[in-house]
């Protein structure tokens, strides 16, 4: 009875667009949904460091290397903000990492695709970060305070990433024949997975109901996807990249681009572990987490010794 009352007043606060803060009452479903979403988001930032990290050591100029290093650093920083935001809901980072390793927690499917040539670094920044921004801008207004604030910080950096990615694509398209081929090849491989980042169509999206009611999610998958397509098509055309969708065309009636059918079968195969890099990404994370165990243990042991010594000092 009490909870029912609480849930009602909770929903009233949501409807009045109030932020929910860590100490406020929240329904268990709300908390669970947020933990799942924020930890998945944090893991995505961290796993996303791998395909890009794959090119740092081969970045073709000093400038490119610095930009890429700084970008990946930003992504790791996003991971940190988001882990902290999730921790306010009563889950530890160690628990979240365990869930990632056991497969209980997911990360964005996009990082199960490989980064094969240098233009992929351009395509990832331009398309993947570009798609992420559309989603994250919308999440700036999400109802949970710490998540919303993390998104505001993150969005500022993401727009740099998107511009820098596009800049790489521009350079490649203005370069030699081989560079142009690399750029188009990257475009061909990243376009559809980028569209899939927004998730299934609204008509068959399993989590949308409560998330919309609670204003965790502010705009639907299809709305966000359309925004992304509309802002990206002209950027591609401007530098001569062909979008690998023969059904893509401007729709003068509704003022948007219509796109072809998304291959959801592939999407679900990849989500279910059959993408080219699922195993590789997770094994990489597990391997280095395990390899770092002695370092973490040493840091803890050293801290305990120091505390002990200080206490000893105080009592003598």
């Amino acid at each position: 009875m009490k909870n029912l009352h609480n849930d009602e007043s909770f929903q009233k606060r949501i409807d009045a667009n109030e932020h929910v803060e860590p100490r406020d009452y929240m329904p268990e479903g709300y908390r669970k949904h947020l933990i799942r979403q924020i930890s998945q988001h944090a893991h995505s930032e961290v796993i996303g460091m791998q395909p890009e990290g794959n090119w740092i050591t081969r970045a073709p100029s000093l400038r490119a290397k610095q930009i890429l290093l700084a970008k990946i650093q930003d992504e790791g920083g996003h991971g940190l903000y988001l882990y902290s935001a999730a921790e306010t809901l009563g889950v530890s980072r160690e628990e979240m990492i365990e869930q990632l390793h056991s497969g209980k927690a997911k990360y964005s499917n996009i990082f199960n695709y490989p980064a094969l040539n240098w233009a992929d670094i351009g395509a990832i920044g331009w398309l993947v970060d570009g798609a992420a921004i559309v989603n994250q801008v919308s999440l700036q207004r999400t109802s949970y305070g710490p998540y919303s604030r993390a998104m505001i910080r993150i969005c500022k950096e993401e727009s740099f990433h998107q511009r820098q990615g596009y800049e790489i694509m521009c350079k490649m398209m203005a370069g030699t024949l081989e560079q142009k081929q690399m750029a188009q090849d990257a475009m061909n491989r990243w376009w559809w997975p980028a569209l899939m980042m927004f998730g299934p169509h609204d008509s068959d999206s399993p989590h949308t109901g409560d998330a919309v009611k609670w204003k965790i999610k502010r705009e639907s998958n299809d709305t966000l996807r359309q925004k992304f397509i509309d802002k990206t098509v002209q950027q591609a055309e401007l530098i001569g990249l062909v979008i690998p969708d023969k059904d893509l065309k401007w729709n003068a009636q509704n003022g948007h681009y219509d796109h072809g059918t998304i291959n959801w079968e592939e999407f679900f195969e990849v989500i279910n572990g059959k993408g080219p890099c699922n195993k590789q990404r997770l094994e990489h994370h597990k391997k280095y987490h395990l390899e770092g165990e002695w370092v973490r243990e040493a840091a803890t042991a050293h801290k305990m010794k120091k505390i002990k010594r200080e206490r000893h000092h105080l009592t003598h």
Binding site: L69, G175, H284, E291, V295, R296, A298
Partner: protein, 252 residues
Amino acid sequence: MNSKEILYNYCLRLGDDALILGQRLSELCSKGPILEEDLAQTNIALDMIGRAQALFNYASEINGGKNTADDIAYRRPEFQYRNHLLVEQPNEDFAHVIARQLYISAFEVLFYGSLENSKDSILASIASKTIKEIKYHLQHASDWTVRLGDGTPESTFKMQRAINNLWMYTGELFEMDSIDDQLLKSGIGVDKSPLIEKWRKQIQATLSEATLTMPEEMFMQSGGKQGVHTEHMGHLLSEMQYLQRAYPDAKW
């Protein structure tokens, strides 16, 4: 060598240390023991590549723009790289990463601290920008040396092993040759001979706080400044230079 060539070579030596260590550290991305440390290592890598860029820009200018900073960084054969052997040593484990950083940063704090007073205003300004970063690198490496040295039996063993393994590459840091001597005379370069005592004191202090022991005197490796490297160098370069070498006409 005329005075221009000498200065050009000096910039390459300093720039190569930064470039090659930056390259080594950038291998560590997404492999850190904790996320914070992953970011700390890429941050140091970023400082290093930034410093290399500044020094190679200057070298390119000295050379009348005949080659760009990227040409210098990416288009030389192995024997023309002038870095110390220490910085090209591989990331064996986290303890080696830290020991390498401790040795080089303790040296660089002294070296760039002195280069700040160079009569060459560009080198002096690069030094004063970079010295702030180096102090942080040294702090970071010292903190970890103490944590690992005075941590668990396993970490003590690993830290001591790394300290010992890399010791033979530290003598080269203080060698003076004709380029060093001539630039010292003209008030541009650094006198490295008096730095060694301060360096040893610094290392000694950190190691004793870490409950570790100073390595014994041993034969010191050298050759990096003459372009004679360890076997690791060729692999590092073939990865770093891959795109520049495979597509020589491309602009990135």
